[in-house]
């Protein structure tokens, strides 16, 4: 049963050439750059959205943290556009691959943590022990805080992978069930079709929300450390 379902998650290659590189680079075509003051509608829309996101996300940081604006904005644009493009029929979503999400999460998290250790060593180390803990609990709590620190990049990557993969799988399964049911009982097929529509709307939302969550968490780790 399972082989059919997971074929859409295989990395696309063509005659041994990595097609996946082209697919990862494709969203950049949809974000043209411009040096004019007044642009065409596509660029104006994107600039408006970018201003909204950067104001909302970067206002909590100090000057040092705001140097990360370019990185975080390109991150949210990349993840959002890749997830949304994955909802098109027959397309391949790079963010379903754990390797790619780990490649995004680990360097960003490590950058934030190492910046914190280099510039504010005492404050970063102080994060390992919440204020006001009773003395006997201290060793255990330090171990727990260390573990929770090191698990942060894993959760970032796995959260994105699992959400997007699960959504795509559900769409495949429910779509297949709808098709199979049309010949047996059209009423049930209609109900399943309505479920499919609701699921697709959910997937659009999830695509954008996951991008936001990823970026927000990275910015929070940054805030702790600048």
């Amino acid at each position: 049963m399972n082989e059919n379902l997971f074929t859409s998650f295989i990395t696309p290659m063509m005659l041994g050439l990595p097609l996946v590189t082209l697919i990862i680079l494709f969203p950049s075509l949809l974000f043209p750059s411009s040096n004019r003051l007044i642009n065409n509608r596509l660029i104006s829309l994107q600039q408006w959205a970018l201003q909204l996101m950067s104001k909302q996300m970067m206002s909590i940081h100090n000057t040092k943290g705001q140097t990360w604006t370019l990185m975080l904005m390109s991150l949210i644009l990349f993840i959002g556009s890749t997830n949304l493009l994955g909802l098109l029929p027959h397309s391949f979503t790079p963010t379903t691959q754990l390797s790619m999400n780990l490649g995004m999460a680990i360097p960003l998290w490590a950058g934030a943590v190492i910046t914190g250790f280099r510039n504010k060593t005492k404050a970063s180390l102080a994060h390992f022990l919440p204020q006001g803990t009773p003395t006997p609990l201290i060793p255990m709590l330090v171990i727990i805080e260390t573990i929770s620190l090191f698990i942060q990049p894993m959760t970032l990557a796995v959260r994105l992978t699992a959400n997007i993969t699960a959504g795509h799988l559900l769409i495949h399964l429910i779509g297949g069930a709808t098709l199979a049911l049309t010949s047996i009982s059209p009423t049930t097929a209609l109900i399943t079709f309505i479920i499919l529509i609701l699921l697709t709307i959910l997937e659009f939302a999830v695509a954008m929300i996951q991008a936001y969550v990823f970026t927000l968490l990275v910015s929070l780790y940054l805030h702790d450390n600048t």
Partner: protein
């Protein structure tokens, strides 16, 4: 007024059919030539459909439709094989045979 334009500078639609092979061979196939061709194609599309005063959704949707089509071409082989399995097991995909049997 019968000035002969050299073959190299003619555009594709001006080339006669008999001259086509030699015209193709004269094109610039160096990496920078190919990159230039992609760049020119991109800007032709961009300036015609997107970079206009009242651009519409069509400029973006044509690109997405082409993307869907290319992905379909890429996965055609697997899709046709799974269709064959579907018809072999009586109109339902092979992993759903159990579901249909139980529902009937």
């Amino acid at each position: 007024m019968a000035s002969v334009v050299p073959l190299k500078e003619k555009k594709l639609l001006e080339v006669k059919l008999g001259e086509l092979p030699s015209w193709i061979l004269m094109r610039d196939f160096t990496p920078s030539g190919i990159a230039g061709a992609f760049q020119r194609g991109y800007y032709r599309y961009y300036n015609k459909y997107v970079n206009v005063k009242k651009g519409s959704i069509a400029g973006l949707s044509m690109v997405l439709a082409a993307y869907v089509f290319l992905n379909y071409c890429r996965s055609y082989k697997e899709l046709s094989e799974s269709l064959l399995d579907c018809f072999a097991s009586g109109g339902v995909s092979p992993d759903r045979v159990g579901l249909v049997h139980r529902l009937i």
